[in-house]
Symmetry: D3
Subunit: 307 residues, 6 copies
Amino acid sequence: MKIFGGRPTKELTQDICRCLGIPPGQADIFKFPNDNTFVQIQENVRNVDVYVVQTSAPPVDEALVELLLVMDALRRASARSITAVLPYYPYVRSDKKDQPRVPITARLVADLLVTAGVNRIVTVDLTADQVQGFFTIPADHLTAQPVFARYFQEKGLVDPVIVAPDPGAVKRAQRFSEKIGAPIAFIDKRRLGSEVRATTVIGEVRDKPAILFDEEIDQGSTFVRAAEVLLANGATEVFGACTHGVLSGAAPGYLSRAPLQELVVTDTVPVPPEKRWPGLVVLSIAPLLAECIKRIQEGQSVSALFF
Amino acid sequence: MKIFGGRPTKELTQDICRCLGIPPGQADIFKFPNDNTFVQIQENVRNVDVYVVQTSAPPVDEALVELLLVMDALRRASARSITAVLPYYPYVRSDKKDQPRVPITARLVADLLVTAGVNRIVTVDLTADQVQGFFTIPADHLTAQPVFARYFQEKGLVDPVIVAPDPGAVKRAQRFSEKIGAPIAFIDKRRLGSEVRATTVIGEVRDKPAILFDEEIDQGSTFVRAAEVLLANGATEVFGACTHGVLSGAAPGYLSRAPLQELVVTDTVPVPPEKRWPGLVVLSIAPLLAECIKRIQEGQSVSALFF
Amino acid sequence: MKIFGGRPTKELTQDICRCLGIPPGQADIFKFPNDNTFVQIQENVRNVDVYVVQTSAPPVDEALVELLLVMDALRRASARSITAVLPYYPYVRSDKKDQPRVPITARLVADLLVTAGVNRIVTVDLTADQVQGFFTIPADHLTAQPVFARYFQEKGLVDPVIVAPDPGAVKRAQRFSEKIGAPIAFIDKRRLGSEVRATTVIGEVRDKPAILFDEEIDQGSTFVRAAEVLLANGATEVFGACTHGVLSGAAPGYLSRAPLQELVVTDTVPVPPEKRWPGLVVLSIAPLLAECIKRIQEGQSVSALFF
Amino acid sequence: MKIFGGRPTKELTQDICRCLGIPPGQADIFKFPNDNTFVQIQENVRNVDVYVVQTSAPPVDEALVELLLVMDALRRASARSITAVLPYYPYVRSDKKDQPRVPITARLVADLLVTAGVNRIVTVDLTADQVQGFFTIPADHLTAQPVFARYFQEKGLVDPVIVAPDPGAVKRAQRFSEKIGAPIAFIDKRRLGSEVRATTVIGEVRDKPAILFDEEIDQGSTFVRAAEVLLANGATEVFGACTHGVLSGAAPGYLSRAPLQELVVTDTVPVPPEKRWPGLVVLSIAPLLAECIKRIQEGQSVSALFF
Amino acid sequence: MKIFGGRPTKELTQDICRCLGIPPGQADIFKFPNDNTFVQIQENVRNVDVYVVQTSAPPVDEALVELLLVMDALRRASARSITAVLPYYPYVRSDKKDQPRVPITARLVADLLVTAGVNRIVTVDLTADQVQGFFTIPADHLTAQPVFARYFQEKGLVDPVIVAPDPGAVKRAQRFSEKIGAPIAFIDKRRLGSEVRATTVIGEVRDKPAILFDEEIDQGSTFVRAAEVLLANGATEVFGACTHGVLSGAAPGYLSRAPLQELVVTDTVPVPPEKRWPGLVVLSIAPLLAECIKRIQEGQSVSALFF
Amino acid sequence: MKIFGGRPTKELTQDICRCLGIPPGQADIFKFPNDNTFVQIQENVRNVDVYVVQTSAPPVDEALVELLLVMDALRRASARSITAVLPYYPYVRSDKKDQPRVPITARLVADLLVTAGVNRIVTVDLTADQVQGFFTIPADHLTAQPVFARYFQEKGLVDPVIVAPDPGAVKRAQRFSEKIGAPIAFIDKRRLGSEVRATTVIGEVRDKPAILFDEEIDQGSTFVRAAEVLLANGATEVFGACTHGVLSGAAPGYLSRAPLQELVVTDTVPVPPEKRWPGLVVLSIAPLLAECIKRIQEGQSVSALFF
């Protein structure tokens, strides 16, 4: 078994390898002046089970193409099997055709991975569980919910309510709320007639600490607006929790000033120091991924981690 | 263009053909004493664009296999293209791996269809939009929401609330509620400690007529329990609306005695006379499917029907 | 290695496992009220060579779809290899296009199996040897002829004649006749002018015991008519022998009253107690299948069993 | 529509084109000194439906590879569709695994054709109907039986018997015998104990003209031995009829001296002048192939030619 | 027919459309803050033959992924056919495995395009002709050699010599030299012992104007070193000609100061104003691509343009 | 591990097996009178890694088809993996579309091999490195350059020049010249106006021994003409070196009389005694292939042999 990490995933790969007690695989990856990516695996991988850890972080397309190149190099170098470990799945939100003549990019990505030679994937908290069905190869879909459950249980909030920041997030939030024994609410945002959008809380939040729960936070405006509405409806304080801290553009500054007690994310997407602020908590996903890799390699049940 | 209907879809196919002003295609489909299905297309289909209308109704697996056989016969008979029109997609709810070591049958069905020669599918109100991504061939995903909107607008309910009967249905219900300008609520059902499950309403329903909205109703217990809770929470009356009236087993009797003003479904799943009761309203999906087929055949936009 | 059996093959699977000294694999397979089949493998199968025993018995399409679901579940659960053991191959007689615009279902079945993830098949006495060519994956095609040869040799018939019940069965019957050193005859059945069909014996049967030999018996009318003609032509007694005792509908009653000394079949198709009668002999195919599985697993020659 | 013929099929292609009133397509096909075949299509074929007529005649592998090269050239030259017209299908007798560790070459050939870009095939009198199932693309399987029926009906034999020269040919011969209203018999050839093979007639031939009927004649020894046995059993005279006159090696001389009144074949395999003798009748298959091509091109039923 | 252009190819697409007298197709393509690309085709494309013009220019991976997304959107929107027009093929130089454990990216790109739904490609001056063989779909490989031949013939250089800047370029340069009737030379660059690399001219260049000819110029150092050596060996003046003016990084400044009379490129790669200098000549490839598209659409020979 | 050799490669296979200390695998391969090839593997290969050594030698198409048949037999016999060892790749020169409407046969061959079940290939000195990209399975591309370097270094020529016999061979020759520290030249052959072709030396050869270097020699006229021109330009003597000694037709006689000191080839193509002459040196490729097979089997780096 060898584990290689893409450029945006160097640190996470090291963390995973540390958990497993093996050194990361060596590869030479850089860009030529003409912007073409060069990849060369620096170790013999004949008959080796290889894991490639690559997340989707800007520049997103470079990370995706780099992953495809690494896999092509590995299969041509006779690796026995190639597992793509994708902490944050590329283009995960483009998983349906909700407008005319758009691509379903998350499915396309699945096919591209298979075309490049992947034999199995491991990923974390997809926007929709159905994305697992974009593959026919084995796809282990992990969730960071236990990580968040442990964090908030240790925090000891009194009678919190879990709040889905939009209707599409209700199902996932409900699962989490059930796991930690809390009630549920959600934020409804809609256009009223030709006027502006109205944002309302559906459910009871008065006099309770609220945990906004979703699988991903990007620019943060949905979260901030939700927090404001929750406080206006009597919530005592608001926490945010989401697996993938994408935090694009001005999000860090914007969120650091928002009425959020804390925003808790994992490191499926790397959060560089300049994007961090005191209210941001980054939990490590590495132990979960390492355990999963170990179980795959040893033929043990992965689902036993979750069910 | 020719349109063939499977055994459980004879009537719907005739309705579609009537809308289009063409006769249904002739095929000989029956079962041998050994339970093997025999299929023979009775008309020349060389270079013809063929549509096969087949829904998923008990016996479900026979309907699926029959569809595969019809398509194999059509491609071997040199049809120019084969479009499977699937009003109720087979195994649509098995679209994710929510337990260890289960199949993702809805994806498997997609691959089986492609293996048997399908070139395009048309379907209605999938449980999850992501199922469209189980295909790479063109897949037109229609919705009966306009049919329901028209029905309830004509009914003239005063200030109704749209209620999702479980957390997974919130997103779809919210879309419908926005379309008809009504507020939204949902039913949360969960295990409390080691005790029985508690069912609560999240959102405001007092003094309003409620429309329970989902894409499918099977045995009906979720709907009945939801209706009871809504009435207990002050709703003035409760309607049910769902595209696919599966109504398995004792559902008709059970639902006819439930505190539901009306249950409104479409005929994506055939509802035979013995399954009908006074409170059941069956709207026809045939005009929508016929219009879609016409647009496909003439190269017009199908999405223009919805967006 | 683990061996799982489908619903119609529970007993045969247990017999095979007993021969091999291992317990059958545990799986949860049942139907929801909406007639959808649910499958869950109850044991960890990561990196395990799995054999799925499933025969084609009514309800035929359910058995086929169940097999596909089990295989999809197994590959998604990371089984190392999946071998479908198909004692009676589904839709085996639909192996050619002998009429316009019919499917070649036996080929379609082959493709469906591959689509669902099968890596190898084992089957018994196909109607035509060419069906093996419907696969490009390894396909071990076993025959029950040695089982029948042993049975009839022990019976000690004096100078029997082997009779093919129709022209298409002559080749197979000739092979068996050569194996046991008996002469051959066959039954010719044809339409004469616009009149009824005439049935004649081609070959010598006078004063000999006759063994009607085919790979399958379904409703039994061909066999019964053949037996009558053989006796009318002077045969002393008539036995029937065929691998697959399909025995649809009223066949058991009909055959029990027919002028057949004995009908000998194997248990490739399950024969429940209510379908048995005194003149029916059911030989077990389990030892042959168990030996084949053992050899596959140990890398020994399977063909050595037959050539 | 354009029709190209391979090197061994030049004459047949011209005959087909004459029936259709179009000139054969021009292609440059030759071998380099290093024995590599060169192919160049000499006409623009963009968006053209192309038919490639190529039969299997020695050198067999060259003919096969040439066909693959022509098809690769055509698809790269943007032909709209490619139909391979294969009067005598390559390796048609290698259609099953009747010994350990042999290939199923007829299936392999099917896959090679598809790999090289074929969209449809047309072929004549396969050894086994099941070979059609080696393809999932449309495959029109024609038979020369009407050609033979016409020939022998015009000949006016009195009360002939149709004889299958071996057990595997009984089914086909029976179909022909039924078509022309004649009885059937067959030749059984087998090893008796450790002694030599015995050849016997199964069925009645005394005082009748016999027509040995099979789909192919190669070296002719089976036919000659069969003719001798038929005459020894009282047949008045013996004719031979088979679609594919392969006539390998010394077959022409051997057969010309055999007790066969006539041997009737078609030109699916070219019969050069030096292989002909007075008792050989070669019927033309070109009108049948031309009619089939015409119907494919015009979207008419091909099966209507036979059923 | 509709023609869509990617972001880096807007201008070229307009030029092509102007040649053809049709407006460019409308598509909405932009990046979300999270760096994910969004694509929506703004026109109905059902049953339309679509051409997507996309070149490989920095950011290279974004351009590639954008192309894949556009094609996925088009096929899901039921385009009849999709032709990718790739003036400068992505990763064209990564076309072989000249080091251990590297990918063959140009082949991977071919497979990615096919995975995303492409039906045909058009490209210009591949580094190696063999790359056409990376596809099995039709691939029209155009060359700008006639464009350069016309340019230099109009220039009227007296007795020029064509010079390949490295050994791998000799074959292509020789073809050009033969076309314009000029002699050939090449630059040999090699490591001598453990010392530095030596650059020598192989062939006669004294007292002649030299045209350095290659299919691509990137950073320019090979060209500049070649020009210096040519002048040192007596060439009277040096021109550069290459189809793809990649001109990465500091190349424009560096080349503008080099002893090159002129550098002539085409616009297969966009050359923005800030990258241009007086000695740079940019010839338009649009008329060639337009003519090719027209011929494909009308079923005329494309090769007739070149042979 | 077992190694099987095709008919034209019997001797080379024995040499390879001798290097590895194992006996060659037994297979029965012959032609029926009808020119069909029969293949039967005579040893159990279940779960065995199999290597099939087959070169391209006349009859070329028979060798290719034989290879496909052997592989089909092996996969149906459950070989664990199949590696095709192709010392001289079939149709290697047909690797591009340099004329309208020709096939790219080398790519087609790659696809045929994959269709027949190959899992990996090993080959030697392809005409173009890009042919490796015709595969997506692992393809080890070996070179005989070290074999030639050793040979000529031992010969001790004083200050030789490496000469490419045509422009397309310059790159490969340059690599060899760099490896042995010699200068480079090449032969330019072209049509001048409407006159005959002129052949000139580009580069310095006066007073030096010249080594014509290419990957293949077929009829030899290019080499002979090149040798004459080199001598006319002052070369002291001329050697020829090329990996693949195809030597078609009259080449041996013609070359034996040519002004070539020696022609050095390897045995990738078998050179039977009657094709040899005193000036022909045949070096063995077997040790290189044996070492490569050993490394593949043991999971060691193959590239380490060359880089």
